[in-house]
């Protein structure tokens, strides 16, 4: 297992390089212009000058190479400097966003708290709801609990968040006035009151997202449990006289988790990808909003860096999922 993990980690490096190159080429090919959101009143020559000032005059391979060096060498140095107060990266050109003219990592750091709070919390809540629902629905297949669970989760999945979000705002902010419709990212939690404010502003976005996550994961959980409940080993376990609890919660659950772990592990990077629509609806302004505005503004350094971080997370969590397979099912061997 250890050698497998190590080998996979080493293999991740060329993989990530290729992914970064593909992303770079794709962004380069995509139509769009970093100056598209500037007013039409700017004359063409001024536009051209602004473009050159962004570094767009340089050939593509040089820009890619610069980005690579900045991402893998200068930015880590900056983080190191930040932690130990040293000055290794001083004077080095960092990755600079075209929209903000400021280092992209500074903005990304700013966005992480609200994203983790809202999207991460929604994910945790979603998983915590989904797994038990999936287990009970499968164990009591076609009971009223199962039917209601199916119905709610299908609604949760088929009604898009741009609709549920607005609906919640209209009901709970406009009509009832219980929760704020706009998320305050500057709120500092340092007392009971501010904590309650934070909870109140998180309720709606978390609920909307958790419903969406839970409905997806609970479907996979249920299907997987159903598959395993029919297996011979379950019959054997029951025949041996094991307690029903043990049979279901230890043997069946462990085997059923394999596909579900994939779904859950694959979902974790999407937390960092943010929830574009939900963030937009509630003005959470996290990483998802950062990415989508960067794409609209054609801010290539920002898009490239964000998607690449995202790719790293995906590769890492896929590896984690693979390792978990081995742990959950000792029969799976990779070496």
């Amino acid at each position: 297992m250890f050698t497998f993990t190590l080998r996979r980690l080493l293999m991740a490096i060329p993989t990530l390089l290729i992914i970064s190159l593909v992303i770079f080429m794709l962004l380069e090919l995509a139509p769009g212009d970093p100056l598209a959101n500037q007013p039409l009143t700017i004359p063409p020559e001024v536009r051209e000058k602004m473009r050159l000032a962004l570094g767009l005059g340089e050939p593509i391979h040089i820009r890619y190479w610069k980005w690579l060096i900045q991402f893998f060498w200068i930015e880590p140095l900056n983080i190191f400097d930040g932690i130990f107060g040293t000055g290794f990266a001083e004077g080095e050109q960092r990755i600079v966003s075209w929209q903000f003219r400021s280092p992209v990592f500074d903005v990304i750091w700013q966005r992480i708290p609200q994203t983790l709070w809202v999207v991460g919390m929604a994910y945790v809540v979603g998983v915590l709801i989904a797994v038990p629902i999936g287990i009970i629905s499968a164990y009591k297949q076609y009971s009223w609990f199962d039917q209601i669970g199916t119905f709610v989760s299908m609604i949760g999945f088929s009604v898009p968040t741009f609709f549920t979000g607005v609906l919640m705002i209209v009901i709970f902010s406009v009509e009832l006035g219980w929760f704020p419709s706009i998320y305050d990212t500057t709120l500092v939690v340092n007392s009971w009151d501010t904590f309650m404010l934070q909870v109140r502003q998180m309720v709606m976005p978390v609920a909307v997202l958790a419903l969406f996550n839970a409905s997806q994961i609970s479907r996979f959980m249920r299907a997987s449990m159903l598959d395993n409940l029919n297996q011979d080993y379950v019959r054997t376990a029951r025949a041996k006289g094991m307690r029903e609890r043990t049979v279901v919660l230890v043997h069946v659950l462990r085997n059923s988790l394999i596909p579900v772990v994939t779904v859950i592990a694959l979902g974790v990077p999407t937390i960092f990808g943010g929830a574009i629509i939900t963030e937009q609806v509630f003005k959470v302004n996290g990483l998802g909003q950062l990415l989508i505005t960067a794409i609209y503004a054609n801010d290539l350094p920002m898009v490239q860096t964000l998607t690449f971080i995202f790719a790293v997370l995906i590769v890492v969590f896929n590896l984690i999922a693979d390792v978990l397979y081995g742990l959950l099912d000792p029969r799976i061997r990779y070496d």
Partner: protein, 317 residues
């Protein structure tokens, strides 16, 4: 029908004593057995009927209700339900019933084909990666790559390159349809692939697979006979989720100007357009929302029934 999963229930679905006459009868096509099992699943039967009704309404409806969905009657705008417009009219006075029917045709077609495409791709890649160790690394890295690609620029590039050639080859609407189906299918297979691969990895170590392999079953038959039927349930779940996903993605695409022409109604688009009017004209949000949910729900139940029906262990009982 509670707990069918664990104990063979006596009655219609239960086992029948094996008689001499039965043994002498010519072998019955196994699809009849599947159908028999399917029929016993009440949810699946209702789901199928609802689905057929919706499909029938969207396909045949326009012959009965002949108002053009793009016809603008500006004086009748923002109308509520009436005999002339049973579902009311939108902000330009277009008939909502006609738009629902026209939109449903497109949405269901996009949903089904895109879902099928992503299922086929996902299952193929998942099974290959899980079954052949040599392909695993390569295919999974490809999956990682696709998961990591930013969707919007990818779609923009696809639209830029393929919109005009496809429109020229297949006409504007069919060309865009192909483009959208392909775009959604090509960007949503990854999860299915990962899940199927995980299942196949586990299956491969099971005794019956070992047994089949030890008698020299070639890989192709192994996959079709032994592996695929056992990964049906995650595939079915992906299918249900895939339809909803495709319908919603289509609406996002046309909103971004990457999809169908702006005056071309689809359910997702109708829903999106109506959200601004949620307080004044809630009906306009409800109709497309309900329609999408019903399609997804009914496909889900059909999938449930199919999975049970295709599972030899359940069917035999």
């Amino acid at each position: 029908m509670t707990d069918t999963a664990q104990m063979p229930a006596p009655g219609k679905g239960g086992p029948k004593p094996f008689t001499v006459e039965q043994a002498l009868k010519p072998p019955r096509n196994q699809w009849w057995d599947v159908w028999d099992q399917y029929k016993t699943h009440k949810g699946a039967l209702v789901g199928m009927i609802v689905f057929l009704i919706i499909v029938g309404a969207t396909l045949l409806g326009p012959f009965v209700w002949t108002i053009d969905p793009t016809f603008i009657d500006i004086r009748a705008r923002n109308g509520s339900a009436s005999w002339a417009h049973p579902l009311g009219t939108d902000q330009l006075g277009r008939d909502m019933l006609a738009r629902m029917m026209a939109g449903g045709r497109v949405s269901i077609a996009v949903g089904l084909t895109a879902m099928l495409l992503s299922l086929v791709l996902g299952t193929l890649i998942g099974v290959m990666a899980g079954y052949f160790r040599r392909l695993d690394g390569l295919l999974m890295r490809l999956t990682d790559l696709f998961l990591a690609l930013p969707l919007l620029p990818l779609l923009l590039v696809m639209v830029m390159f393929f919109r005009e050639p496809l429109s020229r080859a297949y006409g504007p609407e069919m060309g865009i349809f192909i483009l959208i189906v392909f775009a959604i299918g090509a960007t949503s297979w990854m999860q299915t692939a990962r899940i199927v691969r995980g299942d196949v990895l586990a299956l491969k170590e099971r005794e019956f697979v070992l047994a089949a392999r030890s008698i020299g079953t070639p890989p192709r038959r192994m996959i079709i006979r032994h592996v695929l039927p056992n990964v049906m349930s995650p595939i079915m779940v992906s299918a249900t989720l895939g339809i909803a996903n495709a319908i919603i993605t289509e609406s996002a695409l046309s909103f971004l100007g990457l999809g169908f022409p702006p005056d071309f109604p689809t359910w997702g688009r109708l829903l999106f357009d109506a959200v601004d009017y949620i307080r004044d004209y809630p009906a306009r949000v409800i109709w497309p929302g309900v329609a999408i949910s019903f399609v997804v729900l009914s496909v889900n139940y059909i999938g449930d029934g199919l999975r049970d029906a295709l599972d030899p262990r359940i069917r035999g009982r």
